[in-house]
Symmetry: C2
Subunit: 259 residues, 2 copies
DNA sequence: TAAATAGTGTCTGTTAGACACTATTTT
DNA sequence: AAAATAGTGTCTAACAGACACTATTTA
């Protein structure tokens, strides 16, 4: 039997769902419809049901919030947060997951969310703003340098920290694994993949060296033989994801640009 | 208020405490004194107290089980495990931590553990064995290839999987961060550090190239000016840890040796 | 034709791996 | 001196970054 003095805690999963759209790294946020933090923006998530494992709960939440199928994109456990004061209702432990997805149709409103939308990670709503200035969609220009995640935000709970951890994980993981392809549609060009790296890292990459690098790293890309039709330019070859799980050698993230 | 249908779960932390001793990568295991799995070997750990955060619980358990001070070695969150069937008492979520420590004196028996000792990670007790064949200490020769973590083991709960995840994390983390120094005493030689890499990776490294690599990677090592006295050989310079948190460029893990 | 994007080749500097060689100790 | 370990230098192959150049499309 369990010792009597143990206090069990409610167990939740929260999702950092990232995508690249309109040349911006975006995260899916939902506006909370209930207390605590009613009206504030938060990461999508919910409590783990008594009959499901953590991964199953994350997959279910992802489907409920985005309609994303299990096989699309990438999903991995990020970290667990259980600080005593992170939820005013008392201690709640949340297991955060990181999801990377291709540009999706407008998200579906979840069960307990009044609304949901994509936010540029450099332009997270501040405390006090109602966050509707950008209508539904991302606003084109980012105020930041393309790398930082706003420090003082109005996100509910400790979700600003979880988001920052998720973005940092994504930025480092595309260095040594091919998960950047999770941001791409099933078939994609080298230029599309390069834009992903440039946007996630906030840097510029030489198109020619990038092309050589990704096409010659074993298992990264599989040529389909097909090409895209383009407007003004040579058609690009289309690729699908290879079966490599790690990149040897890794992609090198350039030093941050001074600008 | 929390929705009524939420079932709170007991929250524990478990530690994968690794060290290098007698030229072997070792993990600290405790023999369980109480049910479930009484008599079986398990990772040290315990339930999170109502008034402490996860990191605090991990630090407390580490001190209780090993006497290890907070500042020694390295401690980081590994992953969270909450499968429904991982504990016969019902669902228990455990947040696993990875600790890397220098070779320590014989561990102290914990509060609810009948005994504790270091085990070579390649020689984890099997189901059915009582695990006392090696007396107190690690047995010199490893049966394995120096890399695998025994698949079918007799560890309690899902601790074999957690241990495997922890070892894999350690093996990859020393590639791109200087945490291998956490296995070393406060002052150490290049050869000591090289043995750490060789033992954790299960490979041989060229002493001369390794020396050049670690001494020329900015922030990895700080020379103290002192040297060791040795028996038969030129005295080696002593170093302390540098302040780098990431290695640029990373250490390269050689292909596994065929032997 | 020009403009635009895709893709190849070439040069150079850095670094990893192999290994000859020197340096400093104990026996 | 011999043995042992520490540390440096040198050569070569792989690879990243810079960038000239060719290829294939649309307007």
């Amino acid at each position: 039997m369990l010792p009597a003095e143990i206090v069990p805690v409610p167990l939740a999963v929260d999702l950092v769902v990232l995508t690249v759209r309109d040349d911006t790294l975006c995260v899916l946020l939902v506006r909370r419809g209930i207390e605590p933090f009613a009206g504030r923006w938060a990461l999508p998530g919910g409590f783990v049901r008594p009959d499901e494992d953590l991964d199953a709960a994350a997959v279910r939440e992802l489907r409920e919030e985005t309609g994303l199928a299990r096989s699309t994109g990438h999903l991995e456990q990020l970290a667990t947060y259980a600080d005593l004061d992170r939820d005013p209702r008392g201690r709640v432990a949340t297991v955060a997951y990181l999801a990377l997805a291709p540009d999706l149709p407008v998200p579906v409103a979840g069960t307990d969310a009044a609304a949901s939308r994509w936010w540029a990670v450099t332009d997270i709503p501040r405390a006090g703003s109602d966050g509707d200035s950008g209508a539904n969609g991302t606003d084109g220009g980012t105020g930041g340098d393309g790398r930082a995640v706003g420090g003082m935000t109005g996100l509910a709970f400790d979700h600003a920290r979880i988001l920052a951890d998720g973005v940092e994980r994504a930025r480092s993981k595309i260095e040594y694994s091919p998960v950047a392809t999770a941001f791409c549609p099933p078939e994609f060009t080298v230029a599309q993949l390069r834009r992903i790296y440039e946007i996630v890292w906030g840097t510029r990459l030489d198109p020619r060296n990038f092309h050589r690098k990704v096409t010659r790293t074993a298992g990264f890309l599989v040529p389909t033989g097909r090409t895209t039709t383009r407007d003004g330019g040579r058609p690009a070859e289309l690729f699908t994801r290879g079966d490599a799980r790690l990149l040897h050698p890794a992609m090198l993230r350039p030093e941050p640009e001074d600008r």
